[in-house]
């Protein structure tokens, strides 16, 4: 058990070490001092306000990772989280702005809308896969392009808030009433820390992300659907023989994945109260990376979401102190991901070899008794 844990953690730790080595060489080769860059990043991250920023970024990243992981668990590659969350974000923002409800109804309604839109959009790829044999990787990539460069751009224009003057503050959909905005949870954090300064607000969606992570954990370990999901991923033929309907599982998994993806945009919505003209993009692809780095494990993905968020937020301080070119953080994300997936491959192989040896030894011990009987 201890050995396995050690082996499992050796891969990500090794990958991270390799990332540090490669990015240090890169920084050094272009004339920056890697240690002062890392030093700036760490001292920046030691501040409470930065930590709030990191948590605010880790929250959507984690939701995005869970969305991707649900598909990965059954070998479904939902590359379309990006399009699903932006589409869901836009529709939910518009629906939310048209309603005037008490807070207890308004917020859930917006979130359910987002989940339904995200799920439905991902479901298209699932339905195309099971009915027409269309590979979900290609279809979700195409659906991304259709959503982002087509449908969203069009609806954004249609739903442009009807103000006379177009300034940066009036662009976007009509703002949502206060009752539809997920409250921040600064108070909760301030129980443990000093007061948060600079007007930073810790997103309340953090609690939702934690709930989603726990729900994902229980889904996989305690629920029939989660078992079916994992069985279909591990061995689709055995799963089918065991009575798990493969087609329905594909559509259900895609829908669920898209529904969780729908929540990603809610973090930004709680902050901006509308679908802004230039929403944060790339969270869908980053979420895939976070899920892969965390091996689809609900707890490991927390760590990888925090790591990615830390790197994202560090870009700003590197630009300020000019210790290094800020794009280095994206390179670090890419390398840590690639190194980690390779390291996981290696550790899986080592593990298999160990198991084979263990089995062989156990068989060798029992064999003589078998002969004598």
């Amino acid at each position: 058990m201890m050995r396995r844990l050690l082996l499992a953690s050796a891969a990500p730790v090794g990958a991270f070490a390799l990332t540090l080595v490669i990015s240090s060489i890169t920084l050094w080769a272009f004339g920056s001092n890697p240690f002062s860059a890392y030093g700036d990043m760490l001292s920046h991250a030691a501040k409470l306000e930065t930590q709030v920023d990191i948590l605010n970024r880790a929250t959507p990243l984690y939701l995005s990772a869970v969305a991707a992981a649900i598909g990965f668990r059954m070998n479904l590659f939902n590359i379309g989280v990006e399009g699903q969350y932006l589409f869901a974000f836009l529709i939910a923002a518009q629906v939310g702005s048209m309603l005037a409800l008490p807070q207890l109804l308004h917020i859930p309604l917006i979130m359910i809308t987002a989940m339904a839109v995200g799920g439905a959009y991902a479901g298209i790829a699932g339905i195309l896969k099971v009915t027409r044999g269309v590979n979900e990787v290609i279809s979700t990539i195409m659906l991304n392009a259709i959503a982002i460069s087509g449908v969203i751009a069009w609806l954004q224009q249609r739903w442009q808030a009807d103000q006379a003057q177009f300034t940066s503050t009036t662009l976007g959909t009509n703002p949502i009433d206060e009752s539809g905005l997920f409250p921040h949870i600064n108070g909760l954090l301030e129980i443990f820390t000093r007061d948060i300064a600079q007007g930073k607000e810790l997103t309340g969606l953090l609690l939702v992300a934690i709930a989603v992570g726990l729900g994902y954990h229980f889904l996989l370990t305690r629920m029939r659907f989660g078992f079916d999901l994992r069985a279909s991923g591990l061995n689709p033929f055995a799963a089918r023989a065991g009575g798990i309907p493969p087609k329905r599982m594909v559509v259900a998994a895609m829908f669920l994945s898209g529904a969780i993806a729908g929540l990603i945009g809610m973090v930004e919505l709680a902050d901006t109260a509308k679908f802004p003209p230039d929403p944060i993009k790339g969270l869908g692809f980053a979420g895939i990376a976070v899920a892969l780095l965390g091996r689809n494990n609900p707890f490991a993905m927390v760590l990888s979401a925090l790591l990615f968020a830390f790197l994202d937020i560090s870009a700003g301080i590197l630009q300020n102190t000019e210790a290094a070119t800020k794009e280095i953080v994206n390179i670090m994300q890419g390398i840590v991901l690639l190194a980690a997936v390779i390291a996981y491959g290696v550790s899986k192989r080592v593990q298999e070899r160990e198991e084979a040896r263990f089995t062989a030894e156990a068989l060798a011990e029992t064999e003589p008794s078998g002969v004598t009987s």
Partner: protein, 414 residues
């Protein structure tokens, strides 16, 4: 024997031009009804070629990799590496070196993919996703370091283009040859002039890379289906265990195939930055690596098919670029109607009810839309290429044959 079988029996060099003529005839007819002239303009086919070349090169790269059994969705990332390295090489060492260095950059991405998937047996899609995340980051970082801007480079130099002499008015040693296609195009003969215009767009101002790309079709066909190298490469994708039993070093063939794959995508990227935009610009790949993958599937993993797919997708992209008022895309709705009608007839003959119903519904929808509007909004022409990819996959996914062991990890001696 039906018409389709008779067509299939024709040799390829007659069949493909014939398909093209049928396609142009359809466009001409639709154009006459619809009252636009953009469907068969010189600029339309020129734009088509400009879009199609990188799509084709990425798709052909995918062909090498997937024929050897390695799925490569990292093509987009390799294309982006090619864009950056191509621009850098072009600025530092000149235009042709730019293309070579762009290929090397893409090939480096391919090498990375090969190390992950072949040596370490990482899932092919996962490795591809990782490369697609890493490549743009590398490009941004290097741009920022070298050109002091994460998204744009200075001007690059181009290897230039060629006007085909005698047909499209190219000059030979300073003597200007006649421009036959221009004259035919000016004559405004129905259909004939349309063909001439479209051909002229392809043959005048033709990028050297485009010429190389088209020559790669017979070259690849020969290499993969007529040489020992190609046979072994296909064994790596169809039945690696049998190849291994014959003493073939499957790992080496997979490596070579994936590196070639990256180099071709890299050439496509270098073409985008040095020949089309004249500079490196982040985001200019416009997903053409992915579209190349779709062209590969559309083309049933064959070079000629990949080119056909790339030209088809390139046509829609190119038309969208020139179609500011939406009338040409509107006319395309009628083309869609006709094509879907043909699919409907074909499906009915084959008794494929679902196909027939689907084609019927989509075809009628396109027809109703065509009747009820004079132009389509710009967002529709923006997404049309992607919708087309989806439609093609919806109707043809089940009729295609991928290499047998595509995407399966190969372990020596198992």
């Amino acid at each position: 024997m039906g018409i389709l079988q008779k067509l299939h029996a024709l040799p390829a060099w007659i069949r493909w031009p014939l398909y093209a003529l049928i396609g142009i005839f359809l466009l001409t007819v639709v154009q006459s009804i619809s009252g636009t002239d953009r469907l068969t303009q010189v600029s339309t086919s020129r734009e088509m070629l400009r879009w199609a070349v990188p799509i084709f090169l990425a798709g052909l790269g995918g062909l090498f990799s997937e024929r050897a059994g390695v799925v490569n969705i990292g093509l987009e990332g390799m294309l982006i590496l090619g864009m950056w390295f191509g621009a850098w090489g072009s600025i530092e060492y000149g235009a042709w070196w730019g293309l070579v260095i762009g290929m090397a950059g893409g090939g480096l991405g391919g090498l990375l993919h090969a190390i992950a998937t072949v040596t370490f047996q990482v899932d092919h899609i996962i490795s591809g996703v990782a490369i697609n995340i890493l490549a743009p980051a590398i490009a941004r970082y290097l741009s920022d370091e070298i050109w002091a801007s994460p998204t744009t480079s200075p001007r690059t130099s181009s290897v230039g283009d060629l006007d085909v002499p005698f047909i499209a008015g190219g000059s030979i040693f300073g003597w200007e040859s006649p421009d036959v296609l221009l004259e035919i195009g000016k004559a405004e003969w129905w259909f004939v002039s349309d063909v001439a215009d479209l051909a002229r767009g392809l043959l005048r101002g033709t990028h050297w890379v485009a010429i190389i790309a088209v020559l790669l079709v017979p070259a690849t066909t020969w290499l993969i289906w007529r040489t020992r190298f190609g046979l072994r490469l296909r064994i790596a994708g169809e039945n690696p265990a049998a190849g291994e039993a014959q003493g073939i070093n499957i790992v080496r063939y997979k490596y070579v195939a994936v590196i070639i794959s990256g180099a071709l995508a890299g050439l496509g990227g270098a073409f985008i930055s040095t020949e089309l935009s004249g500079l490196f610009q982040g985001g200019n790949s416009a997903g053409r690596g992915f579209i190349g993958l779709a062209a590969l599937i559309f083309g049933n993993w064959r070079p000629g098919g990949v080119l056909a797919g790339a030209l088809l997708f390139g046509y829609v992209f190119g038309l969208d670029l020139k179609d500011l008022d939406g009338t040409a895309s509107h006319a395309l709705l009628l083309v869609n109607t006709v094509v879907l009608g043909a699919v409907l007839v074909w499906a009915l003959k084959r008794r494929r009810t679902t196909d027939a119903v689907l084609a019927g519904i989509l075809g009628s929808a396109a027809f109703v839309w065509w009747l009820s509007a004079d132009a389509v909004p710009s967002w529709w022409s923006n997404i049309l290429p992607y919708v087309l990819v989806l439609l093609v996959l919806v109707f043809f996914s089940q009729r295609l044959r991928a290499p047998a062991k595509l995407g399966e990890p190969y372990r020596k001696g198992s």
